[in-house]
Amino acid sequence: MQTTARVQPARSSLLRDPKFRGLVFQILAVFTVVGIGWYLFQNTQSNLAQRGITSGFGFLNNTAGFGILQSLIDYTETDTYGRVFVIGLLNTLLVSGLGIFFATLIGFVIGIARLSPNWLLSRLATVYIEIFRNIPPLLQIFFWYFAVLRAMPAPRASYEFFDAIYLNIRGLYLPSPIPADGFNVFAIALLAACVAIVLVARWARKRREATGQLFPTPAVAIGLLVALPGLAALVAGNPVTWSVPELRGFNFVGGLVVIPELVALTLALTLYTAAFIAENVRSGIQAVSHGQTEAARSLGLRPRHILRLVIIPQALRVIIPPLTSQYLNLAKNSSLAAAIGYPDLVSLFAGTVLNQTGQAIETIAITMSVYLAISLSISLLMNWYNKRIALVER
């Protein structure tokens, strides 16, 4: 029947052309996204008009008119919402910084303890990790804040440590340093010591790479750090005097007060993140194959040199990328502050300011962009670092 069908040259229809189809598909996708965006924008416009909310960032110049529990820069109730934003940002950075510092410290100690040949110690480290990383951080914050710090005694019955640190329901009272006569000289000496250490470390590395001779850099560094500032203090007199908190009447005077919200938040974020960091450290160290240790040993390196020159550099390459993402998580988790009223960016800006001004879109957009900026800049930094330390394979 169909015997006369002529053989046509294979001219595929446009619909079957993958390039064309790809183009159509992409245009469709872009139109959908833009369309959804437009729809939402229209709705928002009409909703805002109906509720009589004027959008825009003008409100940042209005007077805030509320007090803030803790601010790192001067603040009065007559300051603007713009300044409130800065205070919130600084408070977020403060708690993130503290958390990152302590979590790294504890995380490394526990991660190494997990690999200890001591059975009991490694079990203890495992128990710590399994307990703390499996409990929601918010619950941990609640526990430290409501169950522990809120149950602290009044100032008169404070817990006392070394006659200088006091803990009560109003917070943690620490002695604070006040610069004295010798402070400038001391600071210069400290700076000089740091510069000297960097120079020595550089020189030592160059010499090692040229001649293979090792130089006891860590010992020299500690020596410099102790000797130079110590000498400065001897010559120029005491660099700081300490203002120690003192009980006067019903409250403490002097020293540095850390509000309980900050204590609870730092404690919870530190303990939670430290458990994850410990796991990263453990897997990083375990990722260095045993052959590396054996090879270093057969070259005649001493155990401490094996650790410093062979294991740690290779382990850090594995540890640092997940470590940064833990830091990021900690910074993002610091937004849980809103639940206990620590004045961080979210609780101040997306909470109080939003409620007062009703500028929902602006406040949330600003808050989100801050976190987004932090995340993106850290990931860019991370990518750059990864490229730098990646194994150059032949």
Binding site: N43, L120, P137, L139, F146, A147, N333, S335, A338, Y371
Partner: protein, 365 residues
């Protein structure tokens, strides 16, 4: 000629065998190790006895009111009296069997999926994935087919936590897979859209997303549409988790050797078929542990819904601790909450590890 007689072997030194030997090699091999052991023992002595004394020896277990808690230790009476509220929230008392039934149906229905020898698992799995959500919605929410409606404002406790976590992850899966495919697509526009979406949600904290869903979503929608509070939270959680799932799935897609993609193309399969029949089944199997880990993170994150005023497990307990009738038992409440969360998270992480080991073996062969 003398024949040489071998003497019997000497026994191993007493200190290197049995319990003593174990102690010596693991706890007291040198002075530093001994020091660490003593330090660990000191830590244990510092922490464990007070906790045991507080939680078990000195604790009050019987009674019905606050007055029954007379000792120095924990007051578990508080947990006992409020237990039902912690589990079901304000779900009507006489209808709680529906929640129980939903859980039982989940366990009975999902059990065959974990039997490795089960035939036609795929078909059953697909059926389960379609039928169960409908059944669960009917049982929990009701309002049709003879069940009284229970509005979501009455949901709470562990039940709400589980609903948010399970619905969140189930809803995030399809979107996450699409995003992962989009991120690896050849089409630049699609790639840009997906990367922007993923990086946006991964870059912001969940708490701001929840804030957004509660104050911005009503602005985004036409006036007459109002969405249930729980649904808004679920939407936020789904979008947020989809970005994380996408990254996990992308890891799996990247782990599939290029030969598989080429083989699928050589068979004449189009994009969707080669993904659906060849690539995704392998990739998804690889990333099960990653997905379970994402689920654990989500399960812990559900506690954040307290910010927008939903009564999940943590919020139910938090509210109970500030109840004037039971003031002063915050520690008991939070310890109980921690225990519940811990059991779920630890159990799931062990499960994920066991799958990881099983998959590993499959690859070594």
């Amino acid at each position: 000629m003398d024949t040489h007689i071998f003497k019997p072997d000497l026994k191993r030194p007493l200190l290197s065998v049995g319990a003593l030997g174990w102690l010596r090699t693991n706890l007291f091999s040198n002075w530093f190790n001994t020091l660490l052991t003593l330090f660990s023992l000191y830590l244990i002595w510092l922490v464990v006895p007070p906790i045991v004394k507080w939680a078990i020896i000195d604790a009050d277990w019987v009674g019905t009111t606050r007055a029954d808690c007379t000792s120095e230790g924990a007051c578990w009476v508080f947990i006992k009296m409020r237990f039902a509220q912690f589990m079901y929230g304000f779900y009507p008392h006489e209808l709680r069997w529906r929640v129980d039934l939903t859980v039982i149906a989940a366990i009975v229905g999902a059990a065959p999926l974990f039997v490795r020898a089960m035939p036609r698992k795929l078909i059953y799995g697909a059926f389960f994935l379609v039928a169960y959500p409908a059944l669960a919605f009917w049982l929990l929410h009701g309002g049709f087919l003879g069940l009284v409606a229970v509005p979501t404002s009455q949901w709470g406790g562990l039940m709400l936590t589980l609903v948010i976590a399970v619905v969140g992850i189930a809803g995030a899966m399809p979107l996450g897979i699409l995003l992962a495919l989009g991120r690896r697509s050849d089409m630049p526009a699609i790639r840009v859209i997906c990367v922007t979406f993923i990086e946006f949600w991964r870059g912001v904290p969940l708490i701001t997303v929840l804030f957004m869903s509660s104050v911005m979503l009503p602005l985004f929608l036409p006036e007459h549409v109002s969405i249930d509070k729980l649904l808004r939270a679920l939407l936020a959680v789904m979008l947020f988790e989809a970005a994380y799932i996408a990254e996990v799935v992308r890891g799996g897609l990247q782990a599939i050797p290029k030969g598989q993609y080429e083989a699928a193309a050589a068979m004449g399969l189009g994009y969707w078929r080669s993904m659906g029949l060849v690539i995704l089944p392998q990739a998804l199997k690889l990333v099960i542990p990653g997905i379970v880990n994402t689920f654990i993170a989500l399960f812990k994150d559900t506690s954040l819904v307290i910010i927008i005023g939903l009564f999940d497990l943590l919020n139910s307990i938090h509210q109970a601790t500030v109840d004037p009738a039971w003031l002063g038992f915050a520690t008991e409440g939070y310890v109980f909450a921690a225990l519940v969360f811990w059991i779920f998270c630890f159990g799931m992480s062990r499960y994920s590890m066991s799958i990881e080991r099983r998959l590993d073996r499959g690859h070594k062969r």
